[in-house]
C-alpha cells in the first residue's frame, strides 16, 4: 500500500481523497495555487505546497511541477481527482516515468477513451450500441432506405454544418424526402457544401451512466447506474442512483456492456460509461470518463463501497475487494450540487464570499463540501460549493430527506441554487421521476424566488433596519450591537404560555 499520496487537485474532491487516505493510514501532500492558500484541502493534508498562480494553467495544470513536489516529498502515488490533469495521458505517463503511481487507468486507456473517434470504434467493437446513423455523407439514392433503417424521428445534419443551419428534424417517412431536399439546399447555400448525414433523434433523452471499477488482475465490476438528467448549461446539477427510468433488465444489460467496454482497454480504477437513453430505455454510448466522477458518492451510498479507497487499493495492486455477484443496490441516493450561481439569471456564477454557512446534519445526510465561514468563490475555478448527498430506503424517502436537508442548509453572502433545489424536491414531475435533460427548461417556474420568501425576508430586513436605527439612538455601550440587542430583548418575550 502507498505510504504517501500527492493529491493533485483542490476543493471538495481533494478533501475527499485526503479523507480516504487518512482512513487508509496514508500520509497526504496537498498542492495549492495562490488563490487557495487558506483552503480546507490545504489545511487537512499533512503537508502542503504552493505550485503557482491562481489560473489553473499557472498551477494545477502544470504536471511537471506537481511531479517535482511529489518527488521532493517522496510520494509513491498521485491522485488526480476529476478535471485538471485527471484525463491527461501524458501526465499519467510522466508520473510512471518518475516511478510514482498515477492512481487511475493506464495512459493508454486514457488516450484510447479520450479520443472521440477511437472510443466510438472501441465501443462498436465491444458491441456497445451507438446512436444509429450514417457516419459519412448520405447519397440521394440510398437516403430513403437508410432513413427506414435508422427509424423516426431522425435528424438530418449538414456535414460541414453548425448553428442549426442545414438541420432538419423529421418525424415521419412521408416528410423525409422533402426535408432532405431542404436541408441540402440550406447546407449548400450556407456552407457551399450540400453533404448531409442522418442520425436517430433521441426525444426527451435521459443521461444514464454506469460506474465501473477494475483492478490490475483483469477484474472489472460495474456498480450500477446513475441518472444525471437534471442539467443546466449542459452540466449536471442533480444526480441519483438508481435511475427511476431504468428497469432491472436494462440495468443488467447496460452494466454488462460497460464492463465489456472497460475490459477492452484493460481498465484499472474507477471509470464511468455515459449513455443517452430515450424514454423507452433504448440507450446509446456517449463517452467514457476515465476518472472518478463528481457524483460518485451516490453510488457509494447505495452499494456501501468506498470508490475512492477502492481505486487507491487497486492502483496499489490489490484485487477488487468484491465480485460482481457481491454488489447489490440498497436503497436510493440523491446528490445536489450546491453552486454559487443565480438560477434567475441563467445560472450565471456568482463569485463572492460566503460570510456565514451552516451545513445540514442528522440521519442519511452526507455533505462533501469545501465551505467555511469566509470561503471565497473566485472566478478562477468552478463555482461548486458543496455536494449534498442523502440516502433513503427508497426514492420517495430520499427526496423527502433531501428536501429536509436542503432546508437546513444556509449559505449567506452569495446567491446559490439552494432555493431552486428546494423547489425542485417538491416538483411533481421530479417526484414522479419524469426526467430528461430538458427538465429545467420545461420547469422554469422553479427558477423564480417565491413571492412569500421575498415577503418574509423583507420583514426580517425591516426589523434589522429598525434595530440598527433604534440602537443608534439609544446606544450606551459601544459593544451593544443591534444584533445583541435584538437577541436579548425578543428572546424574553417569545411565545410564553404560562
Amino acid at each position: 500500500m502507498y505510504k504517501k499520496i500527492l493529491v493533485a487537485n483542490r476543493g471538495e474532491i481533494a478533501i475527499r481523497v485526503i479523507r480516504a487516505c487518512k482512513e487508509l493510514g496514508i500520509k497526504t501532500v496537498a498542492v495549492y495555487s495562490d488563490a487557495d492558500k487558506s483552503s480546507l484541502h490545504v489545511n487537512m493534508a499533512d503537508e502542503a505546497y504552493n505550485i503557482g498562480g491562481p489560473l489553473p494553467s499557472e498551477s494545477y495544470l502544470i504536471g511537471e511541477n506537481i511531479i517535482k513536489v511529489a518527488k521532493k516529498t517522496k510520494c509513491d502515488g498521485v491522485h488526480p481527482g476529476y478535471g485538471f490533469l485527471s484525463e491527461n495521458a501524458e501526465f499519467a505517463e510522466n508520473c510512471v516515468k518518475n516511478k510514482i503511481d498515477f492512481i487511475g487507468p493506464s495512459a493508454e486507456a486514457i488516450r484510447l477513451m479520450g479520443d472521440k473517434i477511437t472510443s466510438r470504434e472501441i465501443a462498436k467493437s465491444a458491441k456497445v450500441p451507438l446512436v444509429p446513423g450514417t457516419e459519412g455523407e448520405v447519397k440521394d439514392e440510398e437516403a430513403v432506405s437508410i432513413a427506414k433503417e435508422i427509424g423516426f424521428p431522425l435528424m438530418i445534419k449538414a456535414s460541414a454544418g453548425g448553428g442549426g443551419k442545414g438541420m432538419r428534424l423529421v418525424h415521419k417517412m412521408s416528410d423525409f424526402e422533402n426535408s432532405l431536399k431542404m436541408a441540402k439546399s440550406e447546407a449548400k447555400s450556407a456552407f457551399n457544401n450540400d453533404a448531409v448525414f442522418i442520425e436517430r433523434f433521441i426525444q426527451e433523452p435521459r443521461h444514464i451512466e454506469i460506474q465501473v471499477i477494475g483492478d490490475k488482475k483483469g477484474n472489472v465490476v460495474h456498480l450500477f447506474e446513475r441518472e444525471c438528467s437534471i442539467q443546466r448549461r449542459h452540466q449536471k446539477v442533480v444526480e441519483e442512483a438508481p435511475s427511476p427510468g431504468v428497469s432491472k433488465k436494462t440495468r443488467e444489460i447496460m452494466g454488462d456492456i460497460a464492463v465489456k467496454l472497460a475490459k477492452k482497454v484493460s481498465y484499472v480504477g474507477a471509470g464511468t460509461v455515459e449513455f443517452i437513453m430515450d424514454q423507452k430505455e433504448n440507450f446509446y454510448f456517449l463517452e467514457m470518463n476515465t476518472r472518478v466522477q463528481v457524483e460518485h458518492p451516490i453510488t457509494e451510498m447505495i452499494t456501501g463501497i468506498d470508490i475512492v479507497k477502492e481505486m487507491i487499493k487497486v492502483s496499489a495492486g490489490e484485487p477488487l475487494s468484491f465480485k460482481q455477484k457481491d454488489v447489490e443496490i440498497n436503497g436510493h441516493a440523491i446528490e445536489c450540487r450546491i453552486c454559487a450561481e443565480d438560477p434567475e439569471n441563467n445560472f450565471i456564477p456568482t463569485p463572492g464570499t460566503a460570510v456565514y454557512t451552516k451545513s445540514p446534519q442528522g440521519p442519511g445526510v452526507r455533505d462533501d463540501s469545501s465551505l467555511f465561514n469566509g470561503y471565497q468563490v473566485t472566478t478562477f475555478y468552478d463555482p461548486m460549493l458543496s455536494k449534498l448527498i442523502v440516502w433513503g430506503k427508497d426514492r420517495s424517502d430520499a427526496i423527502k430527506r433531501m428536501a429536509r436537508a436542503l432546508d437546513e442548509y444556509i449559505v449567506l453572502g452569495l446567491k446559490t441554487n439552494l432555493g431552486f433545489l428546494n423547489r425542485l424536491m417538491e416538483e411533481k414531475d421530479f417526484i414522479s421521476g419524469k426526467l430528461d435533460t430538458g427538465f429545467i427548461d420545461k420547469h422554469k417556474k422553479l427558477l423564480k424566488t417565491p413571492k412569500t420568501s421575498l415577503e418574509i425576508s423583507s420583514l426580517a430586513g425591516v426589523i434589522t433596519l429598525h434595530a440598527a436605527a433604534d440602537s443608534q439612538t439609544s446606544q450606551r455601550d459601544p459593544r451593544f450591537t443591534p444584533w445583541k440587542y435584538i437577541a436579548r430583548r425578543s428572546s424574553v418575550s417569545r411565545n410564553s404560555m404560562f
Partner: protein, 168 residues
C-alpha cells in the same frame, strides 16, 4: 415608525410598531406580528404570526442580506435621492459586467430596437458563456465595449432606454 427597503428596482414601504421586542408591521396593506431571536452570529429565528422561520442575516453599511429557504435577498436602505429617482424614471437598463470576464459578442448596436428579454451581449467568465438580456422594451443608447474586451466586475457594457423616456 416608517421604513423603506429597496430591492432591485422596487421600493418596499413598511410601518413598524415596536412593542418591546415584538413588532407589528404593516406592508402593502398586510399586517404581521414578528419577533427575531438570535441563535448564532448570523442565524436568527423569526417568529412570524406564531410560526418559526429560520433566517440568516448580514448587514454591512446600507445593505442588508437575508437568506431564507435557500434564496438570498439583497436589500438596500434607499437614500432620499433613490426614492425620487425610483419613482420617476424606471426606463433605463444599464447592463454592467456581473463578474470579471471577457466579452464574447456584442449582439446589438447603438440605435437598435430591442424587446424585453432580448439578448444584448454575450460575456464569458468561469468557462461559461452568459447572454445578458434587456429587462425593458427600448432602444440601445450606449455600447461601452467591443468583442474580445476583458472587463472588470461592474464595468458598464450596454445601455437600453425605454421608448417613453425617449419622448420625455
Amino acid at each position: 415608525m416608517k421604513y423603506s427597503l429597496k430591492i432591485g428596482k422596487d421600493l418596499l414601504d413598511f410601518d413598524l410598531v415596536d412593542e418591546n421586542g415584538t413588532f407589528k408591521i404593516e406592508n402593502n396593506e398586510k399586517n404581521y406580528n414578528a419577533e427575531l431571536v438570535k441563535i448564532d452570529s448570523n442565524l436568527y429565528s423569526m417568529i412570524l404570526d406564531g410560526q418559526t422561520c429560520t433566517i440568516a442575516i448580514s448587514k454591512e453599511g446600507k445593505s442588508i442580506e437575508i437568506f431564507y429557504k435557500g434564496d438570498l435577498f439583497s436589500f438596500e436602505v434607499p437614500s432620499a435621492r433613490d426614492k425620487s429617482s425610483l419613482e420617476n424614471a424606471s426606463g433605463v437598463d444599464k447592463i454592467s459586467a456581473p463578474m470579471p470576464g471577457r466579452v464574447v459578442k456584442v449582439l446589438k448596436g447603438i440605435g437598435e430596437t430591442v424587446s424585453e428579454g432580448e439578448g444584448l451581449i454575450i460575456v464569458e467568465a468561469m468557462k461559461m458563456e452568459s447572454e445578458l438580456k434587456s429587462s425593458i422594451d427600448g432602444k440601445v443608447t450606449e455600447v461601452s465595449v467591443k468583442d474580445g474586451d476583458t472587463v472588470d466586475l461592474g464595468a458598464p457594457l450596454i445601455t437600453v432606454e425605454a421608448k417613453e423616456s425617449e419622448n420625455s
